[in-house]
């Protein structure tokens, strides 16, 4: 018995067909995946004192200020089974992915981009994923990652800022308002705070790993507890700053 068709050279047509098939698989499959994703774009009216509450499960959250008195929500939803149903009551927009998808199982990543008035308050939570907030000058900026994800707060001037994660870096670049409260907490990741040189605040910084660098903000009035905890005032200490990092670095930098 001879198997000549196995040793015979394929014809030109066959080779062209195979090449085309490989090309289609390599280059067209992302397009197919993209088509499986959902996109959500919505606009909501809002005044100067808008509040946005977002409870995500997994994915990146980006919030940035713009010069319009309205909220623009853009979302990329990985799974077609996932639902996102924002609710607006007065000037508060709530997006609760967890509640909206109860009983649906794994819904993959949902990436949000929110454009809000600069004076807005934003309260953001996710289980996994990065959170980026920029140019907000409202009452509250809260970013909480329950497990893994970086938090970047850029050009922020809110009277209350809370940034907390388990794994990941936290970066705050902004100003401390007089009488404001600021809390930064991470288990494994670096915390970097960039503020103007004339900032005035009362600081409590705790790092069991003894990795606290105040740089230009250090003064001799600080009470140093064995390098693990620093308590003291910078300037007149009108705002309150609390930083805790279990294993990473705490760094203060002049802006």
């Amino acid at each position: 018995m001879k198997f000549g068709f196995l040793t015979r050279r394929p014809s030109v047509c066959a080779r062209l067909f195979a090449g085309g098939l490989v090309f289609a698989i390599i280059f067209l499959s992302p397009i197919a995946v993209a088509h499986a994703q959902q996109k959500l774009n919505k606009r909501y009216p809002g005044g100067k004192n808008v509040r946005v509450e977002l409870r995500n499960i997994s994915g990146t959250v980006v919030v940035e200020a713009w010069d319009k008195d309205e909220i623009r929500l853009s979302a990329t939803i990985e799974s077609k089974n996932a639902h996102v149903v924002p609710k607006q009551v007065n000037e508060c927009l709530t997006i609760d992915v967890m509640s909206d998808n109860r009983g649906r199982g794994d819904i993959g990543d949902i990436n949000f981009k929110l454009q809000v008035p600069a004076s807005s308050s934003v309260d953001l939570e996710t289980v996994r994923g990065n959170i980026f907030v920029s140019n907000i000058r409202g009452g509250l900026v809260r970013a909480h990652v329950s497990s893994e994800g970086d938090i970047e707060l850029t050009n922020i001037s809110a009277s209350q800022v809370i940034a907390q994660n388990v794994i990941g870096n936290i970066t705050f670049d902004g100003e401390f308002s007089r009488g404001g409260t600021y809390e930064f907490k991470s288990n494994k990741g670096d915390i970097t705070i960039r503020i103007p040189g004339n900032s005035a605040f009362r600081l409590v910084a705790a790092s069991p790993a003894r990795k606290i660098a105040l740089n230009d903000f250090w003064n001799s009035n600080f009470k140093n507890q064995d390098g693990r905890k620093l308590v003291g005032d910078v300037g007149d200490g009108r705002s309150s700053v609390s930083v805790m990092n279990f294993s990473g670095q705490i760094t203060f930098m002049r802006r």
Binding site: S58, N101, G105, V127, E148, V166, I167, A206, P208
Partner: protein, 235 residues
């Protein structure tokens, strides 16, 4: 004549005070009644014996001393019997109190009542002062009390909470997606490292406030993580 009258006449006969008439009647009855004859013979024998032995028994030299000695012996025996009975069964204080007859006079009763009123008033004043110092039972006080408990108590309480949430998560973990399981495991590992490190620090320096604060914070972080993922389990 009957036997009763006969026996009375027998005594008179023995004493020699009987009349002739009675004696003849008595003899007539004695001739007919064997019982009364027997009584007369017994009595006559006793009286005759006593008469014949009169003067043979002399009085003791000091009769009064003899009686004193006898009396002392009798009293000593009575005291001994009382002690033995007391040793055999001594009643308890309550038994004696209950068995006691409480008969108080009016002044005694008044004094007892005044003493009770005084004691109750004193106890009330002391109690109210203590209440004023510690304050009533409020949630704030409970928080303050729990904050003042030592590190071991707080550690045990937090450990119990962690065990509870761990159990809940173990029950639901199988339904999680692989990615969610991986996220949880990585985060838990990091938080556990913080808890272990804080515990080690505290063991090395048991009086170190900072290590205690870090342990508290790390355990609270762990509880928060478990609660979050338990919420996700219901998702």
């Amino acid at each position: 004549m009957n036997c009763e009258t006969c026996q009375e006449l027998i005594h008179d006969l023995v004493d020699g005070r009987i009349t002739q008439n009675d004696e003849s009647i008595l003899n007539t009855h004695l001739n007919e009644c064997l019982d009364c004859t027997s009584v007369r013979q017994d009595l006559a024998t006793i009286v005759g014996f006593a008469r014949t032995r009169r003067g043979e028994y002399e009085a003791p030299p000091n009769e009064q001393a003899l009686w004193l000695r006898i009396r002392n012996v009798i009293e000593a025996e009575q005291v001994g019997q009382t002690v033995v009975s007391q040793n055999e069964r001594r009643p308890s204080f309550l038994g004696r109190l209950m068995g006691h007859s409480w008969e108080l006079s009016l002044p005694q009763l008044t004094a007892a009542t005044a003493a009770i009123v005084l004691l109750v008033s004193l106890a009330t004043v002391v109690g109210l002062r203590r209440w004023g110092t510690t304050g009533p039972f409020t949630p704030a006080n409970v928080v303050q009390a729990s904050a003042s408990t030592n590190v071991n108590d707080r550690f045990i309480a937090k450990q119990q909470a962690i065990s509870y949430w761990n159990q809940r998560i173990e029950q639901n973990k199988a339904r999680w997606s692989p990615r969610m399981r991986e996220t949880f495991e990585i985060s838990l590992q990091v938080v556990d490292q913080a808890v272990s490190k804080s515990m080690d620090d505290l063991k090395q320096r048991p009086d170190d406030d900072f290590s205690e604060q870090m342990l508290d914070a790390a355990m609270e972080e762990k509880i928060a993580l478990l609660q979050k993922f338990d919420k996700m389990s219901n998702f």
